[in-house]
């Protein structure tokens, strides 16, 4: 490690290369330590930084292909539409006075818009789907669309715990069926190696309802496949677990609610 005791003159000589980002890490550290207290070096560096800022202007100019403009604008426009759709959908889900029909329509919209395997389970990219997986995906969608469109679907709100006080969730399902849809909002993104896991609770017993990830905004969706009728469960909870899930809850409880 280079100590900063080699003096002002030594640091001053490093400033041009510091401005060019051409120093070794230990030299950078020494310069930055020195700069904290040395007004003269701060002023000297400002002059070198002006040079560095001007260097990119010296390149020979060449126009990019027209297609690049179209591509950049197309990508960003598409992203804006997706964002607006997502925001609109979540807003309707969490509006207290939202009618059931509107919520179900929103969920249907989410399924159609984002695709089941892509954003609900987040495990497979479209390119990776085999014919069998694709068929299973379509069957899954058909099933969910079937019970979502029935008038007997039930919606329950979920609340974040102290671990995730701003998180909210919604659980939509058909009581006599085995599948439900979980939608969450505001859950903190997890570190690598962690996942969220849903637990179906009955008489103090926890059964896994599946694992899911959330996007950078904390939004996540999960199609829940329960071993028994949904009506047989009294509550649900969500915990953080190691990637792949756990046989029983081991991590912090971040959300829950009665069914």
């Amino acid at each position: 490690m280079i100590k900063n005791d080699r003096g002002h003159n030594w640091i001053e000589e490093l400033l041009p290369a510091y401005a060019l980002r051409a120093l070794e890490p230990e030299e950078v550290e020494a310069v930055e330590d020195h700069l904290i207290d040395c007004r003269a070096c701060q002023q000297s560096l400002a002059g070198f930084e002006r040079v560095t800022e001007a260097l990119p202007l010296a390149v020979g100019l060449k126009s990019p292909p027209r297609e690049l403009r179209e591509r950049v604008l197309r990508i960003t426009r598409r992203e804006r539409i997706a964002t607006e759709s997502r925001v609109g959908w979540w807003a309707s889900l969490f509006r207290p006075q939202a009618a059931m029909g509107a919520v179900l329509a929103s969920v249907l919209f989410a399924i159609v818009t984002f695709g089941w395997a892509l954003s609900v389970q987040g495990r497979l990219s479209q390119q990776e789907l085999t014919a069998g997986q694709l068929a299973a995906r379509v069957a899954e969608q058909d099933e969910v669309l079937g019970w979502l469109s029935s008038t007997e679907a039930v919606m329950k709100g979920l609340q974040g715990t102290e671990e995730a006080p701003r998180a909210r969730g919604i659980f939509v399902g058909y009581p006599e069926g085995n599948s439900s849809l979980l939608a969450v909002y505001g859950l903190p993104p997890l570190p690598e190696g962690k996942t969220y896991q849903l637990w179906l609770i009955r008489d103090d017993q926890r059964t896994s309802g599946g694992t899911f990830a959330v996007d950078p905004d904390g939004n996540g969706l999960l199609l829940v496949k329960a071993p028994d009728k949904m009506a047989s469960y009294q509550a649900v909870g969500i915990t953080t677990e190691p990637l792949g899930g756990s046989p029983g809850p081991t991590g912090y409880r971040v959300m829950g609610g009665n069914l």
């Binding site: 041009p16 051409a22 120093l23 070198f48 100019l61 126009s63 690049l68």
Partner: protein, 196 residues
């Protein structure tokens, strides 16, 4: 910092002459104003692409860098903090860093790519006086440097090499590289400050 508008000629020679400053346009990005992004693209795509091309030497990779930079700008406009300096400098710095990361991730450089080249490959259409002057100044200042000094500065800025790496690449003593870097940068600083 004075807000400036209409810096660089757009793709295909279309020139942006709207009154909105860069800073105003970036603020509008936070509200998903796509028109603001279009305007910024037209102002900066040419210089950003040219910088990417200068560093990466491949048009496809330079296009990728420009695309990534604008996508990031669209997604995270708050990363630009006006109090820290002009938007144009920030955007050029982001582009340079992105291109250097790309360069370091995929390649080793060859001697051909080290050639110093400041010749324009297209019509020079800078429509903002302040930056146009700054561009002329830095190009003139660089052209007046002795080749060895210009070379080490180029290797550091456009190839992202440290002085140690430059010394190894050139087969020169580290002390020589340090001296060339310092002398070259001091001359450039003097020239730039005289021109201000």
């Amino acid at each position: 910092m004075v807000a400036r508008a209409g810096v660089f000629g757009a793709t295909g020679g279309i020139v942006d002459r709207t009154a909105a400053s860069d800073e105003e346009l970036v603020a509008r990005l936070a509200h998903q104003d796509h028109k603001a992004l279009e305007t910024l693209y037209d102002r900066y795509s040419r210089i950003l692409y040219s910088l990417g091309l200068r560093i990466l030497k491949e048009s496809a990779r330079a296009e990728e860098v420009v695309q990534d930079v604008f996508l990031k700008l669209w997604q995270k406009p708050h990363l630009y903090i006006p109090e820290n300096g002009a938007f144009s400098h920030w955007l050029l710095r982001v582009t340079r860093n992105q291109a250097i990361d790309e360069l370091r991730s995929k390649k080793t450089f060859s001697a051909d790519e080290m050639e110093i080249e400041f010749v324009d490959q297209g019509p020079d259409v800078l429509h903002e006086v302040w930056l146009d002057e700054q561009r002329a100044t830095i190009r003139r200042a660089l052209s007046q440097l002795p080749d060895p000094q210009r070379q080490v500065i180029e290797l550091a800025y456009f190839q992202g090499l440290t002085q140690q790496e430059i010394a190894e690449h050139l087969g020169e003593p580290l002390g020589t590289v340090k001296t060339r870097t310092r002398l070259g940068m001091e001359k450039l600083r003097t020239t730039m400050s005289v021109s201000e």
